[in-house]
């Protein structure tokens, strides 16, 4: 996975253009892991007082 977007300037030199948009699904994935992880923890704990 590329973390960054890299382009070339008018002189042909590599320039940083920003973060790669391929990281967006990973951001959604991290959120899903946190949410599902908490739901499982909540089920196991079996209490109404979550984190």
């Amino acid at each position: 996975m590329d973390l960054f977007r890299v382009g070339h300037d008018v002189y042909g030199q590599r320039v940083l253009e920003g973060i790669s948009w391929n990281t967006v699904p990973y951001a959604v994935g991290v959120a899903a892991v946190v949410i599902v992880g908490h739901l499982i923890w909540r089920l196991i704990r079996g209490t109404k007082r979550g984190a």
């Binding site: 960054f4 300037d9 320039v15 940083l16 253009e17 920003g18 973060i19 948009w21 990281t23 967006v24 951001a27 959604v28 991290v30 959120a31 899903a32 946190v34 949410i35 908490h38 109404k48 007082r49 979550g50 984190a51």
Partner: protein, 210 residues
């Protein structure tokens, strides 16, 4: 005396309008929260959807205008929290709180969420302010040559990282807000209050007034 302590603990020194309720968030703070939420969601929509190729529209004007609005909101919040609120309510963190033996106005999870959001929003607005130098607006003319290409690259990376991390933070924040056992905090952010029972059940009472 006990009621006064509860009010201070809950974040308000004003008497609650209805008996049995303790004010948690003042109207101005709730308005700030929802305006910030609207601004962040608009900025995510106008920034990420065109970049991902999901929606093509002229997003630039909306994005920078709402971005400037968010800067004003952040400045307002900084001034208000410095001079009208107790910073330690949000920033103090004791060993007892980490161990789960004590819950002050905000839980450890709520403080961590606030700090993560703060980091994300500050990274976005500070880099966004630099990026405004590349914009022609009614207030200023663009000047993209002040910074080097390499510096612009770093600014774009930080701005993008803030935008991408906002996705995770918003999902997690909304999830915790709608959990049944946490919904009282959502109500408090809409209507402003908790009941005394909720306060007693979920928070450690203060030993002294304040």
């Amino acid at each position: 005396m006990a009621e006064a302590a509860e009010r201070v603990f809950a974040g308000s020194e004003a008497p609650p309008a209805v008996a049995g309720r303790v004010e948690r968030h003042k109207g101005v703070d709730r308005l700030f929260h929802w305006l910030t939420a609207a601004a962040v969601l608009t900025l995510m929509t106008t920034g990420l959807l065109p970049a991902l190729g999901i929606l093509k529209f002229n997003w630039v004007v909306v994005h920078w205008s709402v971005g400037v609005f968010l800067v004003l909101l952040v400045l307002f919040h900084i001034v208000r929290s410095l001079f009208w609120q107790r910073l330690k309510c949000m920033f103090a963190l004791s060993a007892a709180e980490i161990a789960g033996k004590k819950v002050t106005k905000y839980s450890v999870a709520q403080k961590l969420m606030h700090h993560a959001m703060t980091l994300m929003v500050l990274a976005a607005v500070i880099t966004g302010c630099f990026m405004l130098m590349k914009m022609d607006t009614p207030l200023w003319k663009r000047d993209p040559y002040t910074l080097s290409q390499a510096t612009w690259g770093v600014i774009y990376v930080i701005h993008g990282a803030a935008a991408v991390s906002a996705i995770t933070l918003v999902f997690v924040h909304v999830y915790f807000a709608i959990l049944p056992e946490k919904r009282m905090y959502l109500r408090a952010m809409i209507k402003g209050w908790l009941t005394r029972e909720e306060l007693a059940e979920h928070h450690t009472p203060p030993k002294k007034n304040g």
